[in-house]
């Protein structure tokens, strides 16, 4: 229903314009920082992080009493379409979350305000890979908020029942696959693991571990047509074929994280962002552990990614927006996010608090992995080739095409897309 859709979005946009016109007072001449009452909208997509960020925002208001912060949670599925529509209409949030795949698109289209001044000397307090991720043409446009690496969560009760030793640092692909097979018990509906079709959680890591890459370091060519990429994909495809993982059709209908949470899955590759959820899950209480990724032919490297707080370049209170974005990624906010076990903050020196907030897990492994982690693959319009990726990987996992053919096709599609950027 395109017409109805356009109507709905235009109405929403018009309403947003009206609202922001009411709430935002015009900025004064003194460096753009209004002394009158200011309300800043802060858009995020994760409900679980709202309580911690609310606390951080309240701290900001405490030191800047004329500035009120409204946190707007938009479901992840609609976040980007809504944000893009709002920004195009000139009615975007003042401060919002941005991730790696979307960063260059927003930065290159002048949607973001540079944060070099607001972040200032704190720039040296963030991991370099994240500062690089959010730098475009020599300017920092995103204040690194947090980071995440991938680990293997495992269900100790299922390991005990199968008489297996818990996975530990230094284990290999072969050991992982053998455990997955032994943990599978179709009669009881128990799976060894799951080949989730999400690159960041699964195959990006295994491709890197085989010694391959997803995108070349200059961001111009695809790495999917290499033998290493094939090895990395086969790792997951084989698990589906030998029954250690549910089929893609089953994964579509039931999110494997939920299967793992309910105690019906031995091991699941997931990000550090899920640590809080799994340590509190009813089906896992007291018997969930996490191990570093198993080593492939080349390494056991994990992908690292992190969100950034960014300021809307067209915000009516852009000065305050820059200050808030920097504050929300700063030390005080980082400490709140760490001690509440929300996410691993990007601010160096606050990460240990996050580990301490999750005493049931060996969450330290995520910090150790970060030291050698590989950057998340992105380009100027990442979404275009991500769509090809989803299609081809799904074709491979569902047996519609061979891994060899699927990856060749994917590399070609991706190279064509990159050439057009």
């Amino acid at each position: 229903m395109p017409h109805r859709f356009v109507v709905a979005t235009s109405v929403a946009a018009a309403a947003a314009v009206a609202l922001s016109a009411c709430s935002a007072s015009s900025s004064a001449a003194d460096g753009g920082l209004s002394k009158g009452p200011v309300t800043l909208n802060y858009a995020i997509w994760d409900q679980n992080q709202q309580p911690a960020l609310k606390k951080a925002a309240d701290e900001f208001t405490k030191s800047n009493p004329n500035v009120k912060v409204d946190i707007v949670v938009v479901p992840a599925k609609d976040y980007w379409t809504k944000l893009q529509t709002q920004l195009t209409a000139g009615a975007g949030p003042d401060v919002f979350w941005l991730n790696g795949p979307n960063f260059q698109l927003y930065a290159s289209n002048n949607q973001l305000a540079p944060l070099d001044d607001a972040v200032g000397r704190d720039k040296g307090n963030y991991p370099k890979s994240l500062v690089d991720l959010y730098t475009y043409n020599g300017k920092l446009y995103g204040a690194p908020k947090d980071y995440d690496t991938i680990g293997v969560y495992y269900n100790k009760a299922l390991f005990d029942a199968a008489g297996l030793a818990y996975p530990k640092a230094g284990w290999t692909w072969e050991e992982f696959q053998a455990d997955a097979k032994k943990l599978s018990d179709p009669a009881k509906g128990v799976w060894g693991t799951a080949s989730a079709p999400y690159g960041q959680m699964t195959f990006y890591n295994t491709i890197l571990q085989a010694g391959g890459h997803i995108i070349s370091s200059d961001g111009k060519t695809s790495g999917y047509d290499s033998p290493e990429a094939l090895q990395g994909i086969n790792f997951w495809n084989d698990l589906i074929k030998n029954g250690s993982s549910p089929s893609l059709q089953q994964i579509t209908d039931t999110w494997p994280g939920d299967t793992f949470s309910s105690g019906k899955m031995g091991m699941f590759w997931d990000g550090s962002w899920a640590a809080g959820t799994y340590s509190k899950a009813d089906g896992l209480k007291g018997h969930v552990g996490v191990a570093p990724l198993p080593a492939g032919p080349d390494s056991n490297v994990s992908v690292i990614h992190g969100l950034a707080n960014v300021a809307n370049a067209k915000s009516k209170n852009v000065g305050w927006a820059e200050k808030l974005a920097a504050f929300l990624s700063g030390k005080q906010s980082a400490e709140i996010q760490a001690t509440t076990g929300t996410v691993i903050p990007a601010y160096n020196g606050t990460q240990q608090d996050w580990v301490k907030a999750l005493p049931d897990l060996d969450a330290q492994i995520f910090l150790d992995e970060a030291k050698v982690a590989a950057p998340y693959p992105i380009s100027k319009n990442t979404a275009v080739w991500n769509a090809f990726e989803a299609t081809q990987i799904n074709n491979i996992y569902s047996g519609k095409t061979t891994p060899e053919q699927g990856l060749q096709d994917l590399a070609k599609q991706m190279n064509d897309a990159l050439a057009k950027e």
């Binding site: 229903m1 356009v6 980007w80 509906g189 059709q249 089953q250 579509t252 979404a383």
Partner: protein
């Protein structure tokens, strides 16, 4: 349409004593009519006509991810017709539209039953059939996804209980489009029933009485009186159903997840493709060209339907 015509004809037939003649009354009311239509028309122009015009214009432009555009002539249309996705999306959409048409005879039968004089709990039944219409598509999709879950869904559990294999309802190509179309029928049935009931009340009772005297049973009365006399309503619903089905998006987007469902590329509709290009991969010119193609297809299908109506629609 029938209801409206019925009303007009009754007003026409009656002469109201002391009332001004029709001509004069019409001329006088024009002025007022404009006043009443005016505000609605402004809204319509701003939120319907302008987007349509702009949409067609965008089909000939390269549009930036955050606005800004430049004229590129027919480039977008060349892309639409040279990329492989269009054919599959069109076939899926036509399949969906074809299945959705089956809702109309079902709605007519239910409407006729609900219209039976002296039916007990008539109000309750009407509410039950209308409930899906007022339920949010998101909620509907969520519930149906649970029912259709390949491992733990009720439908597969029942099938396995009687010794049949379960089916991956939402991730088997073609099957999933049929399933989504059936859910679409279920969601739209209430509206169609209401429109049919309104139409049925315009069928003169005397015809049924005469037929009954001639010895026609309920089935015969339905087929020989109800079906032909209600055909203008049926026609209206067919046209509306095809137009709505050709624009199916929400149910497919919600029930067949583009990110994880392996059958998604084989199940997308025209509007899914439009949404993907315009809002997921930021090429709004390409998306607008798809919308233009869809517009032309809908116009053609509607024209065909209007052409065919002479063969089966009976106006009194």
């Amino acid at each position: 349409m029938t209801v409206l015509e019925q009303e007009i004809s009754t007003t026409r037939g009656r002469t109201i004593p002391g009332a001004p003649t029709r001509r004069r009354r019409n001329r006088k009311s024009n002025w007022w009519a404009l006043l009443f239509i005016g505000p609605a028309f402004v809204g319509l122009a701003a939120f319907y006509f302008w987007p349509i015009v702009r949409g067609i214009e965008m089909a000939f432009e390269k549009v930036g991810a955050f606005g800004g555009s430049s004229w590129v002539g027919l480039d977008n249309f060349v892309t639409v017709f040279t990329q492989p996705e269009l054919g599959g999306a069109l076939l899926n959409t036509l399949l969906y539209a074809g299945i959705a048409l089956l809702g109309i005879p079902i709605a007519l039968v239910i409407a006729a039953l609900l219209n039976t004089a002296g039916l007990r709990f008539r109000g309750t039944f009407r509410v039950i059939y209308f409930l899906p219409v007022v339920t949010m598509p998101v909620a509907v999709s969520l519930v149906w996804r649970l029912l259709l879950n390949v491992d733990n869904g009720i439908i597969n559990t029942v099938l396995r209980g009687i010794g049949l294999p379960g089916v991956a309802w939402l991730s088997t190509p073609v099957v999933n489009v049929v399933v989504v179309a059936l859910v679409g029928i279920w969601m739209g049935l209430g509206t169609q029933i209401i429109i049919f009931i309104a139409g049925l009340q315009g069928v003169p009772e005397s015809l049924y009485e005469a037929a009954e005297l001639d010895g026609a049973g309920p089935v015969r009365r339905f087929l020989s009186i109800t079906v032909p006399l209600i055909s203008p309503t049926t026609f209206l619903l067919c046209v509306l159903s095809v137009i709505a089905s050709m624009q199916v998006f929400d149910l497919i987007y919600l029930m067949i997840d583009p990110a994880t469902n392996p059958a998604y590329p084989a199940s997308r509709s025209m509007v899914s493709l439009f949404f993907e290009k315009g809002f997921m991969t930021h090429d709004q010119g390409y998306a607008a060209a798809i919308a233009c193609v869809l517009l032309v297809i809908i116009l053609i299908l509607s024209a065909i339907q209007f052409g065919l109506q002479k063969k089966w629609v009976h106006y009194e």
